[in-house]
């Protein structure tokens, strides 16, 4: 299994998609952080409920905002499955490893370090930008262990999103449908549904995961329940992908 996971990682590394997505994700993350730092403490910031970063908890909130990189992780992870059909490489993959369950498991295994690394970048970037911002202003950065914990939590959130997205890609086959479906869900359906019915938030696959590894929210389950919910979502989508992939003619 380790060599199959290695093969999946080499597949990702030997194309440029990951680099393009990383640049896009870092740029989006950076713009968000700079905008937050710039507006915090102003009248506009107060109206938007954006607090200035004065405490470790404020910086922690900024770090949790870096979880936006999870959307790009979702796209990359989905293409790990759907790309096999888009480029016709699925036949070669299954000739080398006829067990489709093992192939799906290896993709999920490869999604773990990819998601975690992306999350660490997404979580660390706000700290780096904030450090530079505070240095320019001549202020001290309110840094502490909770900030490091928050970075780790963003890493774990993105790991969850990546593993889930690999399974979504495996179930859907079509790259366009998988990417639009994940982005549409993460950017439109879930935010809209949870805004209209806030009690849905704890059940939502993306924002519900926030409570396992993210900012505390009274609308969400406790840590353990949220973690269990995430595992249930991964298990459910994995089973659907496994069932479909096993019966699919290549």
């Amino acid at each position: 299994m380790i060599r199959l996971v290695h093969a999946e990682l080499v597949k990702v590394r030997t194309t440029r998609l990951w680099l393009g997505l990383l640049i896009g994700a870092v740029a989006l993350d950076a713009v968000g952080v700079i905008a937050t730092l710039a507006i915090a403490g102003t009248a506009e910031g107060a109206r938007a409920n954006i607090r200035p970063v004065t405490t470790v908890e404020d910086l922690q909130m900024l770090v949790w905002g870096g979880a936006v990189i999870g959307l790009f992780t979702a796209v990359l992870a989905a293409t790990m499955s759907t790309g096999e059909y888009r480029y016709g490489t699925a036949a070669g993959t299954y000739l080398a490893t006829p067990s489709r369950g093992r192939v799906l498991a290896s993709k999920m295994g490869a999604a773990i370090p990819i998601g975690f690394a992306a999350g660490l970048i997404g979580g660390a970037l706000p700290v780096i930008i904030a450090a530079a911002w505070f240095a320019v202003k001549g202020d001290a950065l309110p840094f502490g262990l909770p900030v490091l914990t928050a970075i780790l939590e963003v890493g774990l959130q993105c790991t969850y999103v990546a593993v889930l997205s690999v399974c979504v890609g495996g179930a859907l086959r079509s790259q366009v449908v998988a990417i639009l479906g994940l982005l549409g869900w993460g950017l439109v359906v879930e935010p809209l549904a949870t805004a209209l019915v806030p009690s849905l938030k704890r059940w939502a696959p993306f924002s519900g995961a926030q409570d396992a590894f993210g900012a505390p929210d009274p609308l969400l389950f406790g840590h353990l329940a949220a973690f269990g919910l995430m595992l249930s979502y991964v298990a459910a989508v994995w089973y659907v992908a496994y069932w479909i992939e096993g019966r699919r003619d290549v």
């Binding site: 199959l4 480029y87 036949a91 080398a96 003619d249």
Partner: protein, 312 residues
Amino acid sequence: MDADGPAIEARSLSKRYGPVAAVDALSFAVPRGSVTGFLGPNGAGKTTTMRLMLGLASPTSGTATILGVPYAKLDEPLRRVGAALEITGFHPGRTAHDHLRITCLEGGLAEERADAVLAMTGMGGSANAKVRTFSFGMRQRLALATALLGEPAVLILDEPANGLDPAGVAWLRGFLRRYASAGGAVLMSSHILAEVAEVADRVVVIDRGRLVRQGSVAELTAAAGERVIARSPSVAALRTALERAGAVVAEEPNGSLAIRNLSAERVGEVAAAEGLVLHELRGETSSLEDAFLALTGDVPPVPPARPDAEGP
């Protein structure tokens, strides 16, 4: 694994897509130490059969085994079977070497094999070029290189000569002959029948998913019998007269008539009785192409008759 049985065996293999039978109760065997041509008209079910053999599609009924077991149960399949199918693709942004390296990792093969097969297939100079820059022929060579990675005992090749330049075709022919001589088994589909006749020991002919014939190339061409070639300035009139006499007539691309069921003497007599001039009349042993066309009824289209080609 079965050490003595056929290298590849299909038993009552069927695949239906709704009401359409793409493969219909197909049974045939590919012996070790031979090259077997897999022939059939477009849409006959050749690629589907190969996909069923390789576990890429599930049969509706029947079984396909390679070295005595279904492909999915082969231990280290890339060391047993090398396959190059038309449906096999490459990521356009990946280099040839990276593609092969990934396959080595997936198949548990030494990564050095990537360099070896690139050199073997004449792709050494393009190892670090991205697949998107490759011609069709280069992709075909890369597909062959992929199939050879595990030094397998069985090769399943779908139209392997497609897109290859003459040097590539000659290399492939020599390679397959040497491979079979060393005990390997090859099943190759091709629509270039002359190429199959050059390299294959045996052929399996299918049509509409069903087996039409299997046997040696010599058996097949002998079964197709002889034919008579006649050339006349009055092609249409001669054709009508011959068909009236019971012949099966097909017009060749050069305008001559290929006639079955009548001897050369009888064709001459029919032409004389009708007062038709003959410019050529000769008997000819059937080629693999003739045998194929006779078996599948896949007669090439006859070009429309030119007005000036009509009789005196």
